[in-house]
Symmetry: C2
Subunit: 156 residues, 2 copies
DNA sequence: AGTGATATTGATAATCGTTTTCACTGTCGT
DNA sequence: ACGACAGTGAAAACGATTATCAATATCACT
């Protein structure tokens, strides 16, 4: 957390940007999150104790955090974007429960490798990809009484 | 095309909806497309010869076509949605050129199978998925002079 | 073919997350 | 401390899509 804050300060300095009170507060709140958070959600966390900060500045600071390589922006389905730490850890993809909104992360080397092959075959140069599985989590599928039989992945 | 139109008419009839002049014109224009088209794009095609049709009706008819199982709606990146025929053919995923917007389709059974495994392991019940690869197509990567060396898929 | 209940249309306004604008304020190198 | 200029926040703008609503078209039933 302290290290990430320092990284952010360093980025601002190198980019000739100013280290403002608001930026530090927002970055601190962001690094304190452990899940996927929306701009609005982060705003509420910050505004709780610092009412003078505007939602616009949260949007702007999140963009800076992305530029600094410290945040990833995700667009699940429609609606608002969610942000999460851009850990130096592994890349991961997501499973989203369409009922309760729960987001589960996973990583699968084989899928990534297969994507590689496909792309190379087609002559593309891949920059990034998006793999999202939508469905019901264990709890929600139990609750809605959906059969637990074998399900065929069919996509949209 | 004639068959798809008939399917649409049948759907409208069964759902107690009316077969209007506008719906037929819009459906006809949609079935005449061969690529991914936006609501606005389809509207322009129709409005060319039938200026009395409104964009709103295009949106509404596209929703009906989806409900009838004849169209798929895709959300690539941000911005407007694109629609394409929901052929009875195989499911497919997409590669999108971030430079020129070209969309290439592909299907890979192994990836689908791996997704199955992951999901089953996590206890989810999958409804649909989204796999999109973003990068430069052959032409654009040549034009921008990006090296043709081996590229590592790294995702966002 | 005519009637009437009601589904549909299209112009317009509303929505919603995000970005721009702009006058005022804060930061930081000097 | 000064001053250039980047940053802030309130409000307005944005862009794709959806809701409203009065006027119109469809179609089952005569
Ligand atoms: Mn994540
Ligand atoms: Mn397609
Ligand atoms: Zn759930
Ligand atoms: Zn291209």
């Amino acid at each position: 957390m302290q290290e990430k804050l320092r990284q952010f300060q360093r980025y601002l300095d190198k980019a000739g940007l100013k280290a403002t009170r608001q930026r530090e507060l927002i970055a601190r709140a962001f690094f304190a999150t452990t899940t996927h958070v929306s701009a609005e959600g982060l705003y509420r966390r910050v505004a709780g104790r610092h009412p003078r900060i505007g939602l616009v500045t949260v949007y702007r600071t999140l963009k800076l955090l992305k530029d600094a390589g410290l945040a990833h922006e995700r667009q699940f389905g429609e609606g608002r974007a969610l942000f999460e730490h851009a850990s130096s850890e592994h890349h991961h993809d997501h499973i989203i429960c369409t009922e309760c909104g729960k987001i589960t992360e996973f990583e699968n080397y084989e899928i990534e490798a297969l994507q590689e092959q496909i792309v190379r075959r087609l002559g593309f140069l891949i920059r990034h990809h998006k793999l999202e599985l939508y469905g019901l989590c264990r709890e929600c599928s139990a609750a809605t009484g959906a059969g637990q039989g074998i399900q065929t992945a069919e996509a949209g």
